[in-house]
Amino acid sequence: MTKPVSNCPNCGARITFQWSSSVQTVCEYCKSILVRTDVDLKKVGEVADLPSETSAIQLNTEGIYKNKAFVVTGRILYEYDQGGWNEWLVAMNDGTSAWLSDAQEEYAVSFPLSGQKLPAESQLQVGQQFNWHGESYSLSAITKAHYRGVQGELPFEYWDKTDVLFADLRSASRKFATLDYSDEEPALYLGELVEFEDLKMKNLRQFEGWS
């Protein structure tokens, strides 16, 4: 995979894209949020430093999911009244991408599913039943989360958010679904809870006194 290279329009630092489908990235040095245009990079905003201690995962952490190697290229951090969670964008070695979420070290991998008829924000109710890809899901919680910031590369423009609504859906198995109302059109993600060991991750964050 060729890695497109350019320079930060704000500070001139070198910007390397790990994943060819990235739309947005954050300059490591000046924290400018940069969006790719046809010709160059455009600065659209800035982010504050994100707390690093909330996850064992970091940018460039590598791992394996379903026999596919992946590398972590981007991050969105959300917070809500019971804690926070990270959505890590992972680029698979076959060119696809997925989201690896980490909520208090509970790990899950999910993929977007488009072309589904999804309920509007106002129609959501706990207990609603849905069926996608042969699995039935029950809406278990509606969470209003606070967008905390982004890091690294993302497959879409994502910045300048405040409060974002999510609906969590559970199945009888390890599978779950998330309805994301952060954009005008709701988005559906289907995923499954995974064991930390199974992801065989390398280049994890080191914590003093823990190995």
Binding site: S52, A56, E79, E105, F207, W210
Partner: protein, 444 residues
Amino acid sequence: MSSSPPLPPGAPQPAVKALFCPKCGAAISLRALGQAVSAVCGSCHSILDAKSPQLQILQTFEKIVSSDPPLIPLGTRGRIRGTDYETIGFQRRSIKVEGVQYSWHEYVLFNPYKGFRYLSEYQGHWNDVAVCKEQPVIDTRFSIALSANYLGETYRHFQSTNATTDFVLGEFPWEVRVGEQATTTDYVHPPRMLSREQASGEESWSIGEYMEGKDVWSAFHLPGSPPEAIGIYENQPSPVGPNIKSVWAAFALFALALFVFMISFDLHAKKEPVFSASYQLNTGQPVGEASFVTDTFDLSGRTSTVEVKTSADLQNNWIYLNYVLINQDTGEAWDFGREVSFYTGYDSDGSWKEGGQQNTVIVPSVPPGKYYLRIEPEADPRHPRISYTVEVIRDVPVNGYYGIGFLVLLIPPIMITWRAFSFERSRWSESDHPPMPILNSEGN
């Protein structure tokens, strides 16, 4: 948080964050890094919002002078299922049943890669607890939930209670409050238990596995010995439960072997008739003085059993025969008596029968030689004429021994089944579904 200088890339993240209690100024170490939601000041017992940079005070509670401290001190590391965890939080919760308060302890364990895990302890009984990754399915066929299914196993409903949080210390991955109530429902499948907690509209499921105190002690390298377990805990594995099937299987195997043994002995027994003669006891003959001896007969071959079979044409009367089997050469004698009686009749329940017209007796281990029988018949003085036949058969199988062997074999499985049954009765007597008393006098 934001005031800390940026770390050079690759430097290890500090494991503990040092902060100060906004109420009393005491130093607080946050061990769960960015993951704790609540933290409790060890000095003034203020419950603090661990997510806010200034550790906003959420609740202060009157510290009940702790006669009941954590058995595993906070900050202790131990290895559970191959992963190191640090004890970061402790809470005491209780339920009230018929006015009596029962309290137990819960420990929050943390690993920065694997997340949270819990240990619970009640009267020396421990459980290793984790949050369920799969959603358990409650059997809703009945109005009350009697069982739940998790990962293909059925858990039986044990108890539903209202638990109150009485005391907290350290850090928690949720917003903890003293006095908070939760409805807990326990389902058991020893050694595991499934618990549902419902509080303020949220429900969560956890899966626990029974742990012995000594295993907790060795996992956390704790000094001394763990408190002794009192009574039987709801998901404590039965000391005999898993053995029941194998003990009964062994019994079936031995019983089969015994049966095969019996059949092969029966096939090998010669069942050789050596003597047969018919006699008559005439009406009104004097009683007890009519003894006579039979002709001699040969018992050849090895020392073996000898069967003496008596058949008589009885109808509502009896005959008693006193036998002596005598070796003609050595004079060795075996003395035995047999009564043959047969009665029939009719009553309000219809016809009935009692006794029979035949009787056999087996004399064990008779050496070979020439033998004869001395027979002394007895009967009712008013008896009619009785004809009877005496047969002697050597080398017959003794099936009665197999019956005794079978009963002896039955003892261990029955004892183990009884022990398992008693254990389960004790377990369930503490539940919402106590077993019915076996006897009315039980407990007196």
